[in-house]
């Protein structure tokens, strides 16, 4: 199992405040454009696909699959950085937690879990589904 690692707090800004407010309540939202209908990642105020500013924070399933990963063996407490492709479409950077690092594989189904940070809102990570 993964050792407990202190997770650096994310920088909260006017552009992502709504995400962190939902995260504090355990809700995982994905920014989705009301104009073109596409979800994107990382979250931003202007849609990267159609440039509309009609971005909505839509509740997401929290389900995805591992696109790629790497266990940082060199770290004092090894951790698994990864990209997870969400059921909603976009692929996001994250960590895979609550797992056996040696059993991870690309394509593996995972589900979201929020993890506490140093002194900020919790961040979305994923564990094997």
């Amino acid at each position: 199992m993964a050792a407990t690692r202190t997770i650096t707090s994310p920088l909260v800004s006017s552009e992502n405040q709504a995400f962190w407010n939902a995260a504090k309540q355990g809700r995982f939202t994905v920014p989705t454009c009301a104009a073109c209908g596409k979800a994107h990642w990382y979250p931003r105020a202007i849609c990267p696909f159609c440039a509309s500013d009609k971005i909505e924070w839509r509740a997401a399933s929290g389900n995805g699959t591992i696109y790629t990963y790497s266990v940082m063996r060199r770290a004092k407490e090894p951790y698994a950085i990864a990209y997870v492709t969400l059921a909603e479409g976009p692929t996001m950077m994250t960590n895979i937690v609550d797992c056996d690092f040696d059993a991870l594989r690309v394509g593996q189904p995972v589900t979201v879990v929020f993890k506490d940070t140093e002194n900020g809102p919790p961040v979305p990570m994923f564990k094997p589904a």
């Binding site: 596409k38 990382y42 790629t68 790497s70 060199r74 950085i81 960590n95 690309v106 961040v123």
Partner: protein, 389 residues
């Protein structure tokens, strides 16, 4: 408009130091500048264009212009990470083609080794205003694990193996043995790489480049000046540059920006991959080389693992001699930026001045390729094609 044939690389210099605790970064910049000017047969007074990137002390070109007391009519401090100098060589050619300057100086220097930077293994936040920071920094993104995620995906998608990646380091070591300044001059085997400690799965310690102090410089001039100089003329004939990023979350981590910049540069030069006699490929990690070789079209996409195996990158042995100075993997990675030394070794090859044991015969066409910043998130790519006259 084209830069083809509009400018020549007249002087190059690679600082021989790999550890410079007794020298400032500014002094190293000045030393490499003077070295390249001496190589060209020019002086500081001839320089009217200055080109530098993020490693130069102070913001932009002003600090070093003052330190070296340059009198300039054109400056450019485009920051593209480690590949900046591959792009700046092309920017210099463009500026010369437009008549903005006649003698362009490009410098790089830094001292990450003396300053004790844990370059590849510590999460670093460069600018809190970067909008992606909240979505990457908490997850412990480092240089090493970002590139490792590219390698992991490449292995999954194409069946690439650690042994195949190791061949890239092995080839570099075969070249480094002939370079008296190389940090890792020992010839190694595939087993040495795959048995070295894992840094970030699937990359081992020997899949990584060295951390070194030092620097390098280029002097690029207009054709009329090149003709009067004594060094063998190396003509710039094609270039491309781009940024590859995560595209709103719809990306492919197994492709680098070279897939874009390669075709642009080949089209401008009017040549194709099969014509190239020597390549300098930025080698921050073994996977960096593999992806760029595929993306430039030296083999089919996904076939890079087979292509680099069995010594195919070793000069005199394989079909595509690369990084004959030992590259960043074994020789030198000054300021954590490998683009400058890529151009310098390509110029040595075109002049016939590489070490005799690694000199490519009849080397009349060479390519330098670099990526800067982070292959696992967003990076800049630059391609430069040069020809011996």
């Amino acid at each position: 408009m084209t830069i083809k044939g509009k400018a020549y690389i007249a002087g190059v210099y690679e600082h021989p130091t790999r550890h410079a605790p007794d020298k400032t970064v500014a002094r190293l910049h000045a030393e490499v500048a003077l070295g390249a000017l001496a190589d060209a047969g020019l002086t500081r007074d001839d320089v009217d264009g200055y080109f530098c990137a993020g490693d130069a002390p102070g913001p932009g070109p002003a600090t070093m212009a003052e330190y070296m007391n340059l009198k300039l009519r054109h400056v450019d401090s485009t920051e593209l990470g480690g590949t900046s100098y591959v792009a700046l060589a092309a920017h210099a050619a463009a500026a010369i083609a437009l008549g903005k300057c006649d003698v362009a100086l490009v410098t790089l220097a830094g001292r990450p080794r003396s300053e004790g930077q844990a370059t590849g293994t510590t999460p670093r936040i460069r600018d809190p205003n970067q909008p992606e920071a909240p979505w990457e920094f908490p997850y412990g993104l480092t240089t090493a694990n970002g590139y490792a995620m590219c390698a992991m995906r490449h292995m999954y998608q194409y069946g690439t193996t650690s042994e195949q990646l190791a061949w890239i380091k092995v080839a570099a070591s075969h070249h480094a043995q002939h370079n008296p300044n190389a940090m890792l001059p020992e010839v190694i085997k595939v087993e040495d790489v795959v048995n070295s400690p894992v840094i970030a799965d699937p990359l081992h310690r020997l899949d990584c480049c060295v951390i070194s102090d030092g620097g390098g410089a280029l002097v690029i001039v207009k054709p009329e000046i090149a003709r009067k100089l004594k060094r063998p003329p190396v003509k710039i004939i094609g270039a491309g540059e781009t940024v590859k990023h995560l595209s709103g979350g719809t990306f492919d981590l197994t492709t680098s920006g070279a897939a874009r910049t390669g075709p642009i540069a080949f089209a401008e030069a009017g040549v194709k991959p099969a014509d190239i006699k020597y390549v300098s490929i930025y080698d921050s990690f073994t996977i960096t080389v593999l992806m760029q070789i595929e993306d430039l079209g030296f083999c089919e996409k996904g076939a890079g693992g087979k292509f680099v195996a069995d010594g195919n990158l070793i000069s005199g042995v394989g079909k595509l001699p690369f990084n004959t100075d030992g590259g960043g993997l074994c020789n030198n990675h000054p300021a954590n930026r490998g683009g400058m030394t890529k151009v310098i070794e390509a110029v040595r090859q075109l002049r016939g001045e590489a070490h005799p044991k690694v000199q490519v015969r009849n080397c009349d066409l060479a390519l330098a390729q670099g990526t800067g910043m982070q292959l696992g998130t967003r990076h800049c790519s630059a391609t430069l094609i040069m020809e011996r006259e």
